[in-house]
């Protein structure tokens, strides 16, 4: 990834027309985000409470479907559509938190490593190497065995394993920006180290960081869903796509919708953010087009 995200100075936004795919997926992305934000207002039912009388109703287009439960119900009679809507909220809020925590920590440390250099650089980059050599899944298994699964721990685990990527990228970008004249001029003008880093370097390294953040949303969704699927992520009864697939697994023969629909939601979300990340990368990064 490093080589495809060369320095973005100056940022050249290519004035080409957006491809239809990008437009469609931007809309899908927007809908996903709006769904997450507006969940309490648009969900037709309570996602965590169901009536046993209503259990295992198939989606509306199948025989025995009920118009009140468009995507059917699960083994406890809970509405699948409402759980999918609230699931978007769970997943995307984890993504947002992880991107904010990992992104700001990683960028901050990366800029320090790149600009200050010396011991700070050595220590930070050693920590980065260490994190890169720890698989998130093992850490998650270990921590959830001790503390029990929870939202906060999940966010911390995923952030902990992802900040290093931002640090590596911010450091590489900082090393390039550092050589420009405006940094030397800022130094001559008497700017402090902190102000050079915050006001002159940060704005110039931020665009590849934003691309990385978009591309990482897909990874976060998959890791989060996998952990929840294994029962070490989001604890029940919170609506979560990964745990929905896990709960529906044993009913795949009799009630396919329990497991297929949330899986489809995961795939769609990951696909959307991966495509948007790629498109952003293409637009903000002129180098790739020379290929």
């Amino acid at each position: 990834m490093d080589d495809s995200l060369e320095s973005a100075i100056p940022i050249k936004i290519r004035k080409t027309r957006l491809s239809p795919t990008v437009i469609i997926f931007s809309i899908v992305g927007l809908i996903l985000i709006l769904t997450a934000i507006l969940a309490p207002w648009i969900a037709p039912h309570n996602p965590n409470v169901g009536e046993l009388d209503n259990r295992l109703i198939p989606p509306v287009w199948q025989e025995g479907g009920n118009i009140n439960f468009l995507l059917g119900t699960d083994t406890l009679g809970r509405d699948i559509l409402s759980r999918i809507i609230y699931g978007a909220r769970t997943t995307l809020s984890i993504c947002a938190l992880v991107v904010i925590i990992a992104g700001s920590l990683g960028t901050f440390l990366g800029i320090i490593a790149g600009y200050v250099g010396g011991w700070a650089d050595i220590i930070i980059m050693r920590a980065v190497d260490l994190v890169f050599s720890l698989p998130a899944i093992l850490l998650a298994l270990l921590l959830s065995a001790i503390f029990g699964p929870s939202f906060q721990i999940l966010v911390l685990i995923i952030s902990f394993t992802l900040w290093a990527g931002y640090a590596r990228m911010a450091r590489a970008e900082t090393l390039k920006v550092k050589e420009f004249d405006f940094i030397a001029l800022a130094k001559i003008a008497g700017c402090s180290r902190a102000s050079i880093m915050m006001r002159h370097i940060l704005p110039n390294v931020i665009s590849p960081i934003i691309i990385l953040a978009t591309l990482q949303v897909g990874t976060i969704v998959i890791v989060e869903a996998s952990l929840s699927f294994l029962g070490v992520g989001i604890p029940p009864p919170t609506a979560d796509w990964g745990s929905m697939v896990s709960e529906g697994r044993s009913f795949i023969v009799t009630a396919w919708w329990l497991c297929i629909i949330p899986g489809f939601a995961i795939a769609l979300t990951v696909l959307t953010f991966n495509l948007l990340g790629d498109a952003l990368n293409d637009r903000l990064n002129p180098l790739i087009h020379r290929r």
Partner: protein
């Protein structure tokens, strides 16, 4: 090269050492193992005896030293569930299954992924290129556990072509290997394509063409062999994905490997077992990454002198 080799080995040792400290401390945080071992009916004397026996009355750094010493001698304690068997023995039993699965899925994704990637690059913009890239994009978007369940449903339940789960025969490895290869396949296709495109634009490829060499020789001998270098670095990243995949896929297909062992240990809260498996898997992971790095340095001399 020698200096680089020593430096990387030293780093790997430090990583494993730090991880062992983290795992040990987390183990102490998990609470007192004595009541777990003895149950509620134990007398005070029994508790004291076991506490002393396990060395839990000593200060924490001393406990860590003992833990490390034992671990180096291949003793990671006993499982606190079931027959309380040795953790190391249980890990060793599970290695072959995981190894077979990992190798099968790696081979599968390389055999399928490399040709698609090369072809996409050579016939850039063709229908096959677009289709291949879309397939890669889709493969990357679908979580392995879901692919596993869907495959199981379609192939084993609907069409009854292959067994749903279990271990032992060739027919049983096909589904988990296919599900697991999805993760690496997409990455291999994308990376082969972009690295082939890079190489194909190079001067020496132009020269080879000017010399009048056949397109076959240019692509496979000149371009392809060089495009493999960036793929090597990707192997490291691949391993992380594979690790997550292994735990998930083994759980779904009841595959008796390390991943399933880890999951079983977590669901029964068998702490010594979790500790052992995580330590062992970290060890494997760090070693594999070390081998990849050294291979990379061997193939590409520029790395060694950085």
């Amino acid at each position: 090269m020698q200096r680089y080799l020593l430096k990387r080995i030293f780093q790997a040792i430090i990583t494993i050492f730090l991880m062992s400290i983290i795992i040990f401390l987390l183990g102490r945080l998990s609470g007192d193992p004595v009541p777990l071992l003895l149950g509620d009916l134990a007398t005070k004397e029994e508790v004291e005896l076991i506490t002393k026996d396990l060395g839990l009355d000593k200060p924490v750094p001393v406990q860590y030293a003992i833990f490390l010493q034992k671990a180096l001698q291949g003793d990671l304690g006993q499982s606190i569930r079931g027959a309380r068997r040795s953790v190391v023995l249980q890990i060793i039993e599970r290695i072959p299954a995981s190894f077979q699965l990992a190798v099968a899925s790696m081979l599968l994704s390389i055999i399928i992924g490399l040709p698609i990637g090369v072809f996409s690059a050579v016939r850039r913009g063709s229908f096959l290129d677009t289709a291949g890239r879309m397939l890669a994009m889709l493969g990357q978007s679908m979580p392995a556990f879901w692919v596993g369940i869907v495959l199981m449903y379609i192939i084993s339940v609907q069409f009854r072509l292959l067994p749903t789960s279990g271990y032992g025969s060739f027919r049983q490895i096909i589904l988990p290997a296919v599900a697991l290869s999805g993760i690496s396949l997409a990455g291999i296709v994308r990376l082969t394509r972009s690295s082939m495109l890079d190489v194909l634009g190079g001067e020496y490829v132009k020269l080879a063409r000017i010399k009048g060499l056949s397109e076959k020789v240019v692509i496979w001998k000149h371009a392809f062999s060089n495009s493999l270098i960036p793929l090597l670095t990707f192997l490291g990243t691949l391993l992380t994905g594979l690790m997550t995949g292994v735990v998930v896929i083994e759980t779904i297909f009841a595959w008796p490997g390390l991943g399933r062992l880890a999951w079983e240990a977590v669901s029964t809260r068998d702490f010594p077992m979790i500790q052992g498996v995580v330590l062992f898997m970290t060890f494997m992971f760090v070693t594999a990454n070390l081998v990849v790095d050294l291979l990379y340095a061997y193939v590409d001399p520029r790395i060694r002198y950085k």
